[in-house]
């Protein structure tokens, strides 16, 4: 397709609709509340708060490409946070780097567990990770004693997490670096090809020599590790564990992956996902600033509606494509359903788009 339409195709609204939406949001809210919305504080706070969501979305993205859902990433993030917070109080001698390493390792093991449940035992990934997420929530509650836990981390670590470089919050650098890494693996390595192939058609991939079971288990391990990293970035930014963290990040992360999958090459991808996250966040921010009352309810509302709108938009694209294909098949008046004819004709030729 790209062969034909070239650059124009790349700019067509259906491939970068979120980018257009982003521009529309910036222009609209910029006109309505220029001094509030177009301020550095707005962009700073969005970038800071969404850095963690962006990392978590990448944790969702990797198994999603292989055709699996990991909905335990929110709880896994919370586990990473409480582990660091708990260690900083109970074992302050570990030092921040070791604590982070331990937290990420434990979260990676959780990913391995998910991978085994899905890839080896064969449980539906939605069910398996829903179940493990509850176990993780329980562990986090136990470690925190159902209370807010303030981490006692070294000041240097907190400065790093809360600081900024060249006007950009440090957390965002982690998101972008990880994004580049995941993008490279997906785009330029055999592993990336195998991930996509496993998601497109598991059996076809397996028969083409892809070790699909390993791919699935591996994708959950990576997902767990990235969720742990998101937890580390979170505690570095906030310094506190509270019992409500984790789950609120889950929906924006998934919504961004779904939305992102409608962008660019119209399959799950890194930059579409990250673009969707910041677009949604700016939209929410803009609405909250515009409304004079407190807009605590705006985030879920905006995220939910945006996701539905995006999915409907892409479905209409798909339907239009399908009807175009149907038009080119034989238009000869055949009152009989196709399978009936096919069973009689010795070699059915009911191929779509024969040229």
């Amino acid at each position: 397709m790209r062969d034909m339409s070239g650059v124009l195709g790349l700019l067509s609204p259906k491939r970068i609709s979120v980018l257009y939406l982003l521009v529309a949001i910036v222009v609209a809210f910029g006109l309505m509340t220029p001094d509030l919305f177009l301020s550095e504080i707005t962009f700073q706070s969005v970038a800071r708060s969404q850095a963690v969501v962006g990392i978590l979305a990448l944790a969702v993205l990797v198994p999603f490409i292989a055709g699996e859902f990991d909905i335990s990433v929110g709880a896994n993030l919370a586990l990473g946070v409480i582990l660091v917070a708990w260690m900083s109080n109970e074992h302050p001698g570990f030092g921040a780097p070791l604590m982070c390493l331990i937290a990420v390792s434990v979260c990676t093991l959780v990913g391995l567990l998910n991978g085994i449940l899905v890839g080896k035992v064969g449980i539906n990934s939605f069910i398996a990770t829903l179940a493990t997420s509850q176990v993780l929530v329980a562990i986090a509650l136990k470690l925190s004693n159902n209370e807010q836990v303030v981490a006692s981390l070294p000041q240097g670590f907190m400065d790093l997490g809360q600081g900024q470089t060249l006007g950009v919050p440090n957390g965002l650098f982690v998101t972008l670096a990880l994004g580049v890494l995941v993008w490279y693996v997906l785009q330029y390595t055999k592993v990336g090809r195998h991930l996509f192939a496993s998601g497109f058609n598991r059996e076809a991939a397996r028969l083409s020599g892809v070790r699909t079971q390993r791919v699935v288990i591996g994708s959950f391990i990576v997902s767990g590790a990235i969720a742990g990293l998101a937890g580390v970035v979170f505690i570095a930014q906030v310094g506190t564990f509270s019992t409500t963290i984790g789950t609120p990040f889950l929906f924006p992360a998934f919504a961004a992956v779904f939305l992102g999958a409608t962008q660019f090459n119209q399959r799950p991808n890194v930059w579409g996902t990250l673009l969707a996250i910041f677009t949604l966040a700016l939209g929410v921010q803009g609405l909250q600033l515009t409304l004079s009352e407190s807009g605590f309810w705006i985030t879920p509302m905006f995220n939910g509606l945006a996701l539905i709108a995006a999915v409907i938009f892409t479905r209409r694209q798909a339907v239009r494509k399908a009807t175009q294909i149907e038009d080119t098949t034989d238009s000869g008046a055949s009152p009989l359903p196709v399978p009936a004819v096919a069973s009689v004709a010795s070699e059915p030729e009911r191929e779509v788009l024969d040229r």
Binding site: S208, G209, E351
Partner: protein, 529 residues
């Protein structure tokens, strides 16, 4: 059995001059059919002879072009109407059985509720009625068991009993190839139950291509060929060979007694692929060897094991037996391992098992071998595009657009890409299951050229196909499977369309000469039963 079949028994179904065409193709040409009460009447014929069209007309799925007369149980009957078929008491069991595997036997029985949606359902009542009906048919099946947990034979029985139940007793039970997947003893149990049914006055129309079953079960056979009725005869007056001759429309080729089938060990050559003792999926102990440079064809009717042997060799499915390439045993059910050792496989179900439907042609082509387009672990887009371009030319893919989604190509081009995907790996053994199914003529020729090219480049190619002409065109040697075993090996002068068709239809184990005796003794047993 002769007791119940009175020659002048009352006619249950009588058709005269039934004609049906699809476009230019005449599927049924003025066919007559008489089925008497209390008989099991088989309709046989090769693929495309019109037997399935006949069933579909009776079921009301198609309307006929012309019909002279249609009478069911003495009353005129509107052929081609679903309601008429229902009211006349025609009951159908189709090959797929139409059962829901996740529901219990009783739930499958009472799918259409008798009393409307609001009437409360008594599970206990449903179960006891189901259990009784199944028991009356001669089977002992727990009505609470999920259909998915039953054996193939039990499922078939459940489907038949369900078809038989109803307010009115059925006038005719129509079985459309119900035993395509039943192993011998199970089929026998089912046949015994059917005989009890006819002895009680029921009538059965039985569609099958397993001639030994037809000879063992049916009282009367009607042979269709190219949409015409060729003969109706009592099975007592027919031999298996004679039946085959009627179906094919010519005399059988005389065979030397000595050509015992053996696919093993050819004079001194080391086989590239050896498969030993393949069991499972309808296979009942098949050995085969394939040599470098040869195209080995595998033929067989549906149910003979032909449809599962390719997947068994290539490790798509679990099966018992061993497969070795150049003497090295391949890990079973591990396609990645097989591919790494040079065995490439194209499954029959292209859409389900081979295509990455929403990926591009390029990605479909390169997936089995990413390494050759990578440099230091990085996939090079430039190399990949060049490689894809080269293969599109070699495969003659039209239009040659590598970034296009594979779904938007014709079946022929898709199949060429699947073949190209395998050929890119330089396979030592190429296993192709139905390589040209649903493919246009031009693509078929290209695919045949590619198969021959791979063989002349030194690969051992195995082609499993229902297309007998295709096997004769590309294969140097053809194995014919019957009932999960090797039935015949054809090479040289014997490798003809006619011979393959005959061999497919022959009785499972026995030589043609013993056939009549076999059948006589079988009949003997059944009349005592």
């Amino acid at each position: 059995m002769t007791v119940t079949v009175t020659p002048e028994g009352e006619l249950v179904l009588s058709l005269r001059g039934v004609t049906k065409s699809f476009g230019a193709q005449l599927a049924l040409d003025s066919v007559d059919l008489d089925i008497r009460s209390g008989e099991i009447h088989a309709v046989v014929g090769q693929n495309g002879c019109g037997k399935s069209t006949l069933v579909k007309l009776l079921a009301g799925y198609h309307g006929p072009d012309a019909v002279g007369e249609a009478v069911v149980a003495g009353e005129s009957f509107e052929l081609g109407s679903l309601t008429a078929a229902n009211q006349a008491g025609l009951r159908f069991v189709h090959q797929d059985l139409g059962l829901i595997e996740d529901l219990s036997v009783a739930e499958n029985f009472f799918m259409e509720s008798d009393g409307g949606w609001a009437k409360p359902i008594s599970k206990g009542d449903e179960r006891s009625r189901t259990a009784k009906a199944v028991k009356d048919f001669g089977y002992d099946i727990d009505p609470r068991a999920l259909v998915g947990s039953l054996s193939a034979a039990q499922r078939t029985a459940v489907a038949i009993v369900r078809a038989l139940r109803g307010e009115k007793p059925p006038s005719l039970l129509i079985l459309d190839e119900p035993t395509a997947s039943l192993p011998g003893p199970d089929a026998q149990l089912l046949f015994d139950a059917l005989r009890r049914l006819t002895r009680a006055g029921g009538s059965v129309l039985f569609i099958s291509h397993h001639l030994d079953e037809v000879m063992g079960l049916a009282d009367t056979v009607t042979v269709l060929r190219d949409g015409r009725k060729v003969a109706t005869a009592s099975t007592r007056d027919l031999s298996h060979d004679r039946l085959v001759e009627l179906m094919l429309g010519r005399a059988l080729t005389p065979r030397a007694q000595s050509d015992v089938p053996s696919a093993k060990v050819e004079s001194g050559l080391v086989p590239r692929l050896t498969a030993r003792d393949a069991h499972g999926g309808g296979l009942n102990g098949v050995d085969l060897d394939a040599h470098p440079g040869e195209v080995l064809g595998i033929a067989g009717l549906t149910g003979s094991g032909r449809e599962s042997i390719a997947g068994a060799i290539a490790g798509q499915t679990h099966h018992s037996g061993t497969v070795a390439i150049d003497g090295r045993t391949i890990r079973p059910a591990d396609p990645a391992h097989s591919l790494a050792h040079g065995l490439a496989y194209a499954p029959a179900e292209r859409r389900r098992d081979a295509l990455l439907s929403t990926a591009t042609l390029r990605e479909n082509l390169t997936i089995a071998d990413i390494r050759s387009i990578s440099r230091r672990g990085r996939v090079s887009r430039r190399l990949e595009r060049k490689d894809a371009q080269m293969w599109m030319e070699k495969l003659d893919v039209r239009p040659p657009m590598q970034e296009r989604i594979i779904d938007q190509f014709s079946g022929g081009n898709q199949q060429k890409v699947v073949l190209g995907r395998l050929l890119r790996t330089n396979p030592k053994v190429l296993v192709l299951d139905e390589p040209t199914q649903g493919v246009d003529v031009g693509a078929k020729a290209t695919i045949h050229d590619l198969i021959l090219g791979a063989a002349s480049a030194g690969a051992a190619v195995i082609v499993c196909s229902t297309d007998v002409e295709e096997l004769v065109q590309v294969a140097t040697r053809v194995l014919v499977l019957r009932r999960g075993r090797l039935g015949a090996e054809l090479t040289g002068h014997d490798l003809t369309v006619e011979r393959i068709e005959e061999e497919q239809l022959l009785a499972a184990g026995g030589r043609p000469t013993n056939e009549t005796a076999d059948r006589a003794s079988q009949k003997d047993v059944t009349s005592h039963a």
